[in-house]
Amino acid sequence: MALNRRDFLKFSAGAGLMVTAGARPTQASPHGELSPEAVGILYDATLCIGCMSCMVNCKKANAEPGGALYHRETAGTIPYEYPENGDPIYDAPQRLSAHTLCMIKAYNGEEDGPVGKGSTFSFMKQHCLHCLEPACVSVCPVAALQKQPGTGIVTYNKDRCFGCRYCQIACPFGIPQYEWHKASPSVVKCQLCNHRYAQGRYSACCEACPTGASLFGKVKDLREEAKRRLTLKPGETYNYPVKRVDGNERTEQVVKKYVDHVYGMDEAGGTQYLFLAGVDFDKLGFNPRITNQVYPDFTWDYVSHVPALIATLLITGTVTRIATQKLGKKKNDAEKGDAA
């Protein structure tokens, strides 16, 4: 994170008392800045058929060298998670974990109703949202988590990380997972298949998605695409792009009803993962208490006051010492005077 002008002004602002360090969320920047080259994913739950190809392909691609699930000691194996009391046939993780970066879940509003029918059913896809202003990056004391300039991908360097797990506390979406079972553990999170771009490839979940539910592309294009879809009327047909927003593959589909909101446009200051759905987002695993506030500001409003506080406290301490010494001496002299 570069120190921008706003940061600098706050950093050098001379705040006097401790009380003023009680940080207040600022209104200075409602959004993070989007780099024109930033890449991300648009997930459209109305297109998702729950085949979980994305999850399987994610594991395969990330178990390769450079991937977020790759470990030298387990090279060549894919960390599938089999059901506890069942045959090891399907990869069946229950939630994000040190072995699972990407997760498809289903929401069924009518418990007794038919699955997959009506406006109360939806799939949801969980993985790192690659915030424009990531809380995890701002709190990491050793800069193991970094936001890449250009692509905006939030990457993780396991050699820097010393394992304080502050990123897990900070992430509003509960994304970073920890390798609790290991003596030499790392944080595990989706890095948008950062290792595959050099090979001319892109996010594995989108490459494997047969319906276009997971769509890869530049965030500015994805934002346009998402907004365009919200203008469509249910029942119309629309030529949905598949795999990449800038690719040639298309599929014609009947438009279903959308909730009039693109999740990720503003949440937590904006994210590079965008989400469209036919069901309220509160029901799809997003904490309703997450606001549009830029997260790093919460702690920066405190940290930026620290230099001024150091100076204030040092000066106050010195002045107090000098003053009390003088007073003490005067008192002593007076007492001596009395005695004489």
């Binding site: 709190v139 553990p185 009390t324």
Partner: protein
């Protein structure tokens, strides 16, 4: 100078402490070999557990007495408290060392503990906290060194340290003030997880004020213990003075907490029977309301045995507060998230071992170092 012959090394309490230290070391070794998952019940919903709440947050708050008493004596020139400067500094020094031991065991890669020193990321409160721990522990070592130098009879070095002592105290007061509040600031990043009963932009200030109350109570508590068990003769006026301090600080803290309850959260939240509400009430009752009520009565304020109980209440109350901020304030979020946590017996044993090590070292320094000479 000689070791104090009035303090016996091997008493039943010491034997228990040493046993706990050995037991804790065994479990700590197990944690080093097999990892956090094998030794603790922490999980992705509760990445911070009992060690962080008790040993790190609680331990650092307990150590606050060091900077307060040093400030009172060296900066405010309140000579009355000179007899307890050394024990207070010793407690702070040991408290920080114990916290460092706990952090060492708690982080995923213990041997990368120095990483923040050369991998700077000054946007992070955690980095600020790490710097404070490093600098303040060093400062405390310097403030503590005269005791060791006197014992060794190194007069020249003793005098050299004496010359920079006031500077070290001013530096230490600054570091400690900021460190206590920075520990609260760590949690500012989680407004959507924590209950509004605790989360507020003024959390750093709450941490600082409660640490001052805790520090005063801790100094009073341990001075009473060392008067009884460690051959330390002190004037009762010191306890009365500390009690007045606790009353004033807790009164101010109560105002802060009430403002928080009414302006940020709402009183219903405390009384809705939820885990957060109940824990909040317990913390306030034990650590704030009861001590204030008792201290307001002059008869209790001037009774050393009553003050002992009040000190214990304040210490437990502030530890509860740290536990609440670290664990219970996120209860609804983590439950919604499908996570649960209760500390494993191994976590308890390690914590007990760390605390025992602190108390044991304090006793040994009372015997072998000029801790109570002034």
């Amino acid at each position: 100078m000689q070791s104090n012959p009035n303090i016996k090394t091997w008493t039943p309490a010491t034997i228990v402490m040493v046993a706990l230290i050995l037991l804790g070391s065994g479990v700590a070794l197990y944690r080093m070999l097999y990892g956090l998952g094998a030794a603790t019940n922490m999980n992705d919903g509760y990445p911070w557990g009992f060690w962080l709440g008790l040993d790190v947050l609680g331990g650092v708050a307990m150590a606050a007495g060091g900077f307060i008493i040093a400030c009172a004596v060296y900066l405010f020139n309140w000579k009355k408290y000179r007899p307890i400067v050394r024990p207070a500094i010793m407690t702070a020094f040991l408290g920080y060392l114990m916290a460092v031991v706990a952090i060492f065991l708690d982080i995923g890669h213990p041997f990368r503990l120095p990483h923040p020193m050369f991998m700077w990321q000054y946007h992070s409160v955690m980095w600020v906290v790490a710097m404070h721990v490093i600098f303040y522990t060093t400062t405390l070592a310097l403030e503590f060194s005269p005791m060791l130098l006197e014992r060794l009879g190194w007069e020249k070095a003793r005098k050299a340290v004496g010359k920079i002592m006031v500077g070290a105290v001013i530096f230490g007061v600054m570091l400690s003030t900021l460190h206590q509040s920075s520990l609260g600031a760590v949690f500012l990043i989680a407004p959507e997880k924590m209950s509004p009963l605790w989360w507020d932009t003024k959390l750093p200030f709450h941490f600082l004020v409660s640490a001052v109350a805790m520090g005063l109570a801790m100094v009073s508590f341990e001075t009473m213990l060392s008067a009884k068990f460690l051959d330390h003769k002190v004037d009762k006026e010191i306890f009365y003075g500390l009690a007045r301090g606790i009353l004033i600080v807790l009164g101010f803290y109560l105002l802060l907490k009430l403002y928080q309850l009414f302006a940020v959260a709402s009183p219903n939240m405390a009384f809705d029977g939820s885990v957060e509400g109940n824990m909040y009430l317990l913390e306030m009752l034990v650590g704030v309301l009861l001590p204030i009520a008792l201290l307001s009565v002059k008869k209790y304020r001037t009774s050393v045995s009553m003050l002992f109980s009040i000190n214990v209440l304040v210490i437990i109350g502030v530890i509860l507060n740290r536990m609440n901020v670290c664990l219970f304030s996120m209860e609804s979020y983590t439950t919604w998230h499908g996570a649960a946590y209760s500390p494993s017996w191994k976590e308890f044993i390690v914590s007990l071992g760390i605390i025992s090590l602190g108390v044991f070292l304090y006793k040994m320094s009372a015997k072998h170092l000029p801790l109570f000479s002034h």
